[in-house]
């Protein structure tokens, strides 16, 4: 049985670190793991995605439409953009955060006001996480990615691992306290 996880967001939101920690944990849990992230021009504020697949034996790293068992959207509109990738009955975790893309900033396009409602009325298993404000409350909004990691680990039923140690291993010591708290906050959601 192979599970497929899709992380989507905006360049600079920390999707890559999240996927690194998650993949390291999946390897420790004894799974075969393939992770794929395409970067390049999209780092400059564009839409980004990371694909993680794990199970007994994984061949392709690619996830197609309707194939993700779980999806974490680090930004609301990105959840809508990538929604077709989630399989029906899959779990959607969405960060209650808006990042305006340039076409919205220059008033060529509108940022939709009803994204969360639309997602909630369409997807059966959806969890809205105020990761940015939780992380702000803990000291720095940038730790939102680790809040989301905690929420994802929880949703995947993978809490039986020392994720705190993995978070520490992937971050410099000065960020340990903040991010361990962020992880705990996510795990308890």
């Amino acid at each position: 049985m192979v599970k497929s996880i899709l992380l989507v967001g905006v360049g600079g939101q920390g999707t890559i670190l999240t996927s690194k920690i998650l993949s390291a944990g999946l390897v420790e849990l004894g799974f075969d793991v393939k992770m794929s992230e395409i970067h390049g021009m999209s780092q400059r504020g564009g839409s980004v995605s990371t694909q993680i697949r794990y199970g007994d034996k994984v061949y392709s790293p690619s996830i197609g439409a309707g194939e993700a068992d779980a999806m974490v959207a680090f930004e609301k509109v990105e959840a809508a953009r990538w929604l077709a990738y989630l399989n029906r009955g899959g779990t959607l975790i969405v960060n209650d955060q808006e990042v305006y893309p340039l076409p919205v900033l220059i008033e060529k396009e509108k940022y939709p006001s009803d994204v969360l409602e639309a997602l909630k009325s369409t997807v059966e298993n959806v969890k809205v996480v105020a990761a940015s404000s939780i992380a702000s409350g803990l000291g720095n909004a940038r730790a939102q990615n680790i809040v989301l990691l905690g929420a994802l680990v929880n949703a995947l039923g993978l809490k039986d691992l020392d994720w705190e140690r993995l978070v520490r291993e992937h971050l410099p010591p000065r960020l340990h306290d903040l991010n361990v708290k962020a992880l705990q906050a996510g795990l308890s959601l």
């Binding site: 993949s23 021009m41 780092q43 400059r44 564009g46 061949y59 309707g66 076409p103 509108k110």
Partner: protein, 585 residues
Amino acid sequence: MKSLMTGNEALARGAWEAGCLVAAAYPGTPSTEILENLATYPEVYSEWSTNEKVALEVAAGAAIMGARSLAAMKHVGLNVAADPFFTMAYTGVNGGLVVISADDPGCHSSQNEQDNRNYAPFAKVAMLEPSDSQECKDFVIEAFELSERFDTPVLVRVTTRICHSKGIVELGERREAGVREYKKDVKKYVVVPAHARERHVVVEERLRSLREYSNASPLNRIEWADRGTGIIASGITYQHAREVFGDGASYLKLGFTHPLPDQTIERFAAGVDRLYVIEENDPYMETFVKSLGIDCIGKESIPACNELSPQIIRKSLLSDEPGPLYSVDTAVPARPPVLCAGCPHRGFFYAISKYKDVVAAGDIGCYTLGMAPPIGVTDSVICMGASISGAIGMAKAAERAGRKIKVFGLIGDSTFFHSGITGLIDAVYNRGNIAVAILDNRVTAMTGHQENPGTGVTLMGEVTTQVDIEGIVEAAGIKAGNIRIIDPYNLAETEKAVKEAYNSTEPFAIISRRECALLKDVQRRKRGYCVVVSDKCKKCKACMRPGCPAIAFKDGEVVIDASSCNGCTLCLQLCKFNAIVKVGE
């Protein structure tokens, strides 16, 4: 020991384990991290070369001298390095020479989808194609062995999905290969016509030996299962095919893909009822299979454009579409990549955007985004270096048509070193009436902040001579009076220089110099950010014209996001009402 590695990390690891001593590259997505990782192994001399041709020649020189050497590049980089690549096939090597080409099906970060497998038969060299991270490591080691055994450069061809995917890799130890003895051998290494003609005979003989070896190579293996369907695949498409067909098909998994194994293919085809050849982009294997008189299904069903995926293969070969998908009615705004907040290119682009009769030939780098709205300055982007040389041709043609336009060539610092200098000399020599702007942000930014000849530091972290751009511009023959060095954060100075360039009737150069706003040092030194004083703001939105992603019009107010503002003050300089101030300095 096992480790989760990207293909690029594993390629570097393989080179290290194989005893590689010299490695060179020019950064280019998706290949950049190969050399970044090699540079972490102190036994390997690693360098960012000026361009891919230089990189391959550095590696070739080291191989002639007897060291195992490697050159890595993105697919279009091999076009630049094609000259030494073809002739190294004639000279052969001494120490092993491995060339890695990282292709980009799907154009994730490239200007085309060229399939560099075609280079292997064209240059008559051996080629290997790994299909995951473990094979990346193993195949590079094998490539060094084959290079020395058959006295040939070996091409290792990977794709974005291999380079940037992670898989579990079993690590090995480094096996020192040393530096082989060097003996002067002009008949081998000096390709005057008399020698080259003899070497060509050697190349053809070697191809025959390689073809024989390809049939015996463990890198080409048959996996028998259900014989109703047979699949020939290499690289990432093998993994996609396994995902789709599982044990419901037999596979000929090809890792040694030039020369292709004719006998193995014949044996496999004879053992299956229906044969698919699954490959991205060109029908490289399919054409060969058909040349053997074997019937197969390939490009008539499988798209030649874009990356493949299990889903596309399922759809193309099995007419299997995904079931009903989730969708919402909400209109989703596009999110294109943009120049960052505080990007020094923005001020320069803004200054030039006021001239409606300017045609701008752009180049490869972050500033390619100068084509995007709301700036929309750039008219063309072709390849590394084509800005300056393309501008010369545009200006000559426009002159002949009597068109009253001014042509600018816009190029970054690293791209200027890569292949802009020759164009600049051409402009001077042939009296091209163009303005050249070197957008010098002191780093190779687009690929993730690599060092370059202008930064004064090497890939290995050594302090070195900073190559002087203005010195090169002047030495190329641009008159001292026609050179301006400006700070693009100073809008008045930038506009003045652009105006002078616009009015000049001689080759003119502007060096627009300001460090990339995202450089770690710049971020550490960062002081202050801009804020809107709301009672002074007339909501004219002049500040928003250059398209800074830190400025938004929200709920009827212009607001600047303090956390993303890098304090460049371009918006402040555009505000006629003094409604923007910089704080926190």
